[in-house]
Amino acid sequence: MTPPPADGAALAAERGAAGAAWRGRGGQGPRPGSRLRARAGTALGAGVLGAYLSVLVMLPIAALLANAAKGGTSAFWSEVSSPEAVAALKLTLIVSAIVVLVNALAGTLIAWVLVRDEFPGKRVVNAMIDLPFALPTIVAGVVLLALYGKGGPTGIDVTFTRAAVGLALLFVTLPFVVRSVQPVLLELDRSAEEAAGSLGAGPLTVFRRIVLPALTPAILSGMALSFARAVGEFGSVVLISGNLPFKTEVGSVYVFNQVENDNVGAAAAVSVVLLLSALVVLSAMTALSRSRSRHVG
């Protein structure tokens, strides 16, 4: 049991006495003071932790929600349903959904190849998967521009197109599905696959009936994290997409522009929509993933 943070100071004072008692006893056997001392320490820790989270996370999020709700539902609705906001939110959600589906396929494929295949340089490829997490997002944008931008060696120029938005989001979300599927695949008992194969099931049947059900929870949780990340992504998109309203402006860029123009009401309202869509998808897919893993387990 953790005493409420308010008691922290009082208990901390007692803590000194308990410490003195402990030193006097020379640390022999269980001490009556030790439990109190531990409690005081926990209370103090809880208080500091609570303060940190309040200042850093809770207060700002409360301010965001309060600001979005300030003018009531009608004001919120009119901010969210302005044509530019609708276009930005629609683009964000549609491109994120496409990116998540591509990730589900490509991520599972990559995880499969990394676990079940052997080829020279596999360890380097495996290490490279995490690069999008380590690379600053703005650098991700510059990197993509260097190859797929104007004057690039491929002759492909995606700058200022919706494809550029998708490309940037695919880059930054690449590791999620791979890294959630990989450990499951490593742990997967192959005897069921072998048994099915020896009973005459084809490779497709074995995958669909035995491997895929076992991987589904991991694929879903990777997809959920990808979606949450894609919906809020800013740094990698900002240079390559050109941020053209009604064309390539995503939700986070819209929020940024509204903040720059001192239109905080619109920024807060659209922020809340972005946050809610990420949270809803995240919790729905996590719930789905849990129920699936229960079926399999």
Binding site: S34, M128, G197, F234, V259, S271
Partner: protein, 304 residues
């Protein structure tokens, strides 16, 4: 080719092979089956590696080529510009403040979630995951709404002579918010696996809570913590959206290295942008190396 090899390549059918139908998996030594299996395996390998090359490998290689195509001199000149140097040290300063802060609080949150018994634990877990669900831009906006000039605490801060937004404290908060979960999220599974037996034994033998933590818990979770620290560092160094909003992006004052990259790019200074981006990319590669060395370490530690 063994039966397990055949089974191993089986899913390739889902992607490449069509109309193959059921084949005698039991007769794995049959040549046509083995041949198809190895063809599928190669097909899958090239599909996966091709995707990675197009999305990841080639673009990253390209930026190094673009940066160094005219030799080292222009790159050196670009990265030693006063604004670039200032941006670099500002980024390092933010990392030096945020990483210790989030390491201490990350361990604290991991202990509270995994070992604590209080009603708010679910809420704490939710708060911890917030940075994963929230856009960096929204983080910046939320901070402005509290600590900005017209924010909740704006007038109080101003009358006390404190400026948070458009200065270092705000940038520290933005960076700390987005990199909050990593240490805790890496430490929680290690704590769970560790169990409480050793800690209880230490307590029974008369160790205080702090002694138990320092002598028993911390050594056991250290690699998880260090892994989290590496992730925190990478995130803090590269943070863009949140810092972009709260910093005001003042050249030579509140411009971090990622913000400098954007500024150079938008001012058509390709060399400057690429050079600064490569500096950040090299730091990312160092991070990656650290992650891989530690991944082995953590595995070894948790297995024993």
């Amino acid at each position: 080719m063994s039966a397990s090899d055949l089974a191993a390549t089986a899913p390739s059918a889902a992607v490449t092979a069509r109309r193959t139908g059921p084949r005698g998996g039991g007769r794995a030594s049959a040549h046509p089956g083995a041949h198809a299996a190895s063809a599928r395996r190669l097909g899958l390998r090239f599909l996966a590696l091709g995707y990675l090359l197009a999305l990841l490998g080639a673009p990253v290689a390209m930026i190094f080529y673009r940066t160094f195509e005219h030799g080292l001199a222009p790159v050196w000149e670009a990265v030693t510009q006063p604004n670039a140097v200032h941006a670099f040290w500002l980024s390092i300063e933010l990392v030096a403040i945020v990483v210790p802060l989030n390491t201490a609080f990350g361990i604290g949150m991991a202990l509270a979630i995994e070992r604590g018994r209080f009603r708010g634990r679910a809420l704490l877990g939710l708060l911890l995951d917030m940075p994963f669900a929230i856009s960096p831009v929204v983080v910046g906006l939320a901070l402005v709404l509290v600590y900005g000039r017209t924010g909740w605490l704006g007038s109080w801060l101003t009358s006390n002579g404190m400026q948070v937004i458009f200065s270092i404290p705000g940038m520290v908060m933005a960076t700390a918010f987005v990199s909050l979960p990593f240490v805790a999220r890496e430490t929680i599974p290690v704590l769970r696996e560790l169990g409480t037996e050793a800690e209880q034994a230490a307590a029974t033998l008369g160790a205080s809570a702090w002694q138990t933590f320092r002598r028993v818990t911390l050594p056991a979770i250290r690699w998880g913590v260090v892994y989290g620290v590496v992730l925190t560092t990478a995130r803090a160094l590269g943070e863009f959206g949140a810092v972009s909003i709260v910093s005001g992006r003042l050249e030579g004052q509140t411009q971090t290295l990622p913000l400098y990259v954007q500024d150079r790019f938008e001012n058509f200074d390709g060399t400057g942008a690429y050079a600064a981006a490569v500096v950040l990319a090299l730091l990312a590669f160092a991070t990656l190396l650290g992650m891989n060395l530690l991944a082995k370490r953590t595995k070894r530690d948790t297995v024993v």
